[in-house]
Symmetry: C2
Subunit: 294 residues, 2 copies
DNA sequence: ATAGCCCAATAACCTTTGGTTATCACAGAG
DNA sequence: CTCTGTGATAACCAAAGGTTATTGGGCTAT
């Protein structure tokens, strides 16, 4: 008893005529005949009385007719629902949004995307960029708007969305606060406040120290952006943050680094993973967004 | 999207392993693979993520899984229902029961059948035996427990259930009431009370008159058994009824006919019609019933 | 490392089945 | 009493669903 048989049966019942049922189904009349016999044999019941003209539905046929219509309607509805996922009328995906990108770069993307696809849902996953990248690679998270780590973006799909310059953050009363720019060498002896392990900003900064042949004095680590700023303001150490993330009201002075140090913020995903259509739509949206804002 | 595909999909989801899903379904692993791809292509959605081990269900797959389970359950239930019709756990049929048979011959058959098949229903259709026979031939009624007409039972399936002798019914004060038996010749001048047209008893009696070369004086016709007896009792005319149908309390005297006149009561159906299993069961039951009461 | 294993994908092939055309048989209408 | 409409049947064909054999990628254990 399969759906095709039930559908044919319902049409036969509606047409009360094998020939016109066949026409409505765009198949030949013998196909109808054969299929109905097959269904009847499977059930061990006669569903249609061919002696009458027009053909009549038996009592058992009448019962099956109702059941068949219900089944077909349910299948129809299931198909519609699934089609909505395909057509981006429904759907959701997970996106890693570390604190830094969440505060400055994610909101406009989210707003734009939501405007284009109001019925799609994003589930935001917190976590550092590095940890998020690993989760994306392991396919635990569909995508992430992260700070790209210093190296090794091979094997992940990515779209750089923006580049930001890291600036030195000093307490307002710091002796070096007045400089036009600073090098890491000048800062080597300064205690540093960093993000925890698993955050890209930490590894980018450590990487920069290492490349300069220097070793930073890591005073303390946290994964709270506001905590870092507060610690710097209170003189616990210096730090390095994207210029956009610090403003005058923070009781922090920013000085450009020399040579400049940049971080790239962008979208990443696992190219081998089969992403939900909703997520593909978001990636595409971000792609367009970057192309248009160039 | 057919039932087979949905079933395979559900099993894959349950096993989270194509190979063991194939085993559970008694098919080969490539068949599973192929069918799932087909379903995914039809929907335009990835349902299973094969990158993970064990394979993981995607968000869309999770949605379809629920829908598919519902559909399969509904089909299952439909199959069960239809199977109950086949297995005589459900079902009904129509049976013509004219007044005479309804009063004396149908009740024991009904009781016995209902005992054997408590959940089957009969719908009793009223009407004369002749009219019922025609309705059965036209397949408007599945079967009938009727008085067989004088001739022409060809072309209908039938089981004679009992034979009854017709006796002359006279008002108690009738001059011929004391006779040991009576011939139609002796009764020719008597007004007769008969069933209406369409009732077998009428045509059997008219037939007997005709065969004896006589013409009855039909006083009045009715299709109410009790009315006939009342009319006879009041002296409106004589009548002929099965002996079993008249007793002493009726203020009617019965006298055997000479030569005897018999009516056969039995079951009839259209052998070309496809009867509901319930009706077939009843016919079979009556067949057994007669065989055992011989 | 690397050999071995698990497991899904793929290829080539076979069998069943759903569909086709042509034709028949039969009932009912003109 | 032929003609028309309609379902059944036969013979045949193409596609679908299934099979076995094999490949290849990712893990695990040595």
């Amino acid at each position: 008893m399969d759906l095709r048989e039930l559908e044919y049966f319902v049409v036969i019942c509606e047409e009360k005529n094998f020939t016109s049922a066949a026409e409505r189904l765009y198949i030949s009349q013998p196909a109808i005949s054969k299929t109905l016999y097959k269904l009847e044999d499977e059930l061990g019941l006669r569903l249609i009385n061919r002696n009458q003209k027009p053909v009549a539905i038996t009592a058992e046929g009448e019962v099956l007719l109702k059941l068949a219509r219900d089944i077909i309607a349910q299948v129809q509805s299931a198909q519609n629902i699934m089609d909505e996922y395909k057509k981006l009328k429904r759907g959701s995906f997970t996106i890693a949004v570390p604190p830094m990108t969440g505060a400055y770069f994610f909101p406009p993307l989210f707003a734009g995307f939501k405007k284009k696809y109001p019925s799609l849902d994003m589930r935001i996953i917190d976590g550092g960029s590095l940890a998020s990248l690993e989760a994306v690679k392991r396919e635990e998270i569909h995508t992430g708007l992260i700070i790209f780590p210093p190296k090794d973006m091979a094997g992940v799909g990515n779209i750089p969305v923006t580049q930001q310059e890291l600036v030195v953050c000093l307490p307002a009363d710091h002796p070096l606060a007045g400089q036009a720019f600073l090098s890491l060498q000048q800062l080597e002896s300064e205690p540093v406040v960093l993000y925890n392990d698993g955050f890209a900003l930490r590894s980018i900064i450590l990487n920069a120290y290492a490349e300069a042949g220097l070793t930073p004095k890591i005073e303390i680590s946290t994964n709270q952006f506001l905590t870092i700023k507060a610690l710097v303001a209170k003189g616990a150490g210096i730090s390095f943050l994207p210029a956009i993330a610090v403003n005058d009201t923070d009781a922090i002075v920013t000085v450009p680094l020399e040579p400049q140090l940049h971080v790239t913020i962008g979208l990443v995903w696992n190219p081998n993973s089969f992403l939900p259509p909703a997520c593909k739509a978001f990636i595409e949206f971000v792609q367009d967004y970057c192309a248009n804002n160039k």
